[in-house]
């Protein structure tokens, strides 16, 4: 009868540790096993299954957590003023997140259906799209290509930069500048 509405403090700590470990472990290796994640969390493998029914559910929870954490930081970015400057600011802030959790994204893509992925990204993606739309309206971004394509290009270039860093041909410091310089040029209306 005396149902316990909230989880016990003990359990909350475990869940916390597991999610953090999952983000970290999957960030390094996109197909890390549940055992590895449990070990990284300082927790037994069985305990993980006590809180998450599947590996898939665990990955989804980790993904959601990582995105939510990043999203709150992104919302602080000022998107007013010249869209080009605003885009540069947004890239500066987004880039770190994309670079750190790109392996986690791959893990999610392996396990989750595409629509789930899209649903998780809906929040951050929307702000980006609105900014691009505004730039198009104001004539500083090109309109001969669709907004969806321009956003996709931005994503591609960021992921490409992450690959270049992994390959050792680019340093993390240079990346943001390169991305901004490239994307801004790509978004400029053709003369």
């Amino acid at each position: 009868m005396t149902a316990t509405p909230t989880k016990r403090a003990d359990a909350q700590r475990s869940i916390e540790a597991i999610l953090e470990a999952a983000i970290s472990a999957l960030g390094r290796n996109s197909d890390a096993s549940v055992s590895e994640i449990a070990k990284a969390a300082g927790v037994g493998r069985v305990t993980v299954y006590g809180h998450f029914p599947n590996r898939a559910d665990l990955v989804e929870a980790a993904m959601r957590r990582a995105i939510d954490d990043g999203h709150s930081g992104l919302e602080a970015v000022d998107l007013s003023g010249d869209p080009r400057d605003a885009l540069a600011r947004l890239i500066d802030s987004s880039w770190q997140l994309v670079n750190q959790s790109r392996s986690l994204l791959i893990a999610a893509q392996d396990v989750l259906p595409p629509r789930k992925i899209r649903e998780l990204h809906a929040g951050p993606a929307e702000r980006m799209e609105r900014l691009v739309e505004r730039g198009r309206d104001e004539g500083v971004f090109r309109t001969d290509l669709s907004t969806a394509w321009l956003v996709a290009v931005l994503h591609s270039v960021m992921h490409g930069a992450a690959d270049e860093i992994a390959a050792g041909r680019l340093t993390a410091d240079e990346a943001a500048g390169h991305i901004t310089a490239t994307v801004l040029a790509a978004f400029t209306p053709p003369s």
Copy 2:
């Protein structure tokens, strides 16, 4: 004593079928098993191991074959004249290949060390780099970013386009034009 220098005609046919099936199967599913590949080739799984010691070696051979096939087609592309036009022509020809075998590339990345991947791509990549270099020398491509980065951007955008097609937000027909329009703008020197 009477050593047979060349493989028997029988065996050559099998190897051929296996490689073709591997390219096709891995092109659809980057982690297709040896069984699947063998079945697709109309051959027993054991026969595959008779010609390729590992799954990794098989993937490498398939990758090499796919690249060589594509490379010979790419060599026919005329790279003289305005570097922008030449780049457009090269993209037109390269795009199909990248789009078709992107899943195969993923398979290769899963199994082969990065330096092997790079080594396999060395041939096609070199022509591309030389073209970009020439464009930079002639002042039509920007020099404030490294050649390596510009080439990486081109790759990223092509792979991104492949993703967009897979997601159903872009048709294969539109792709080449979008890629060219985007990359040409990205390569233009900043005013």
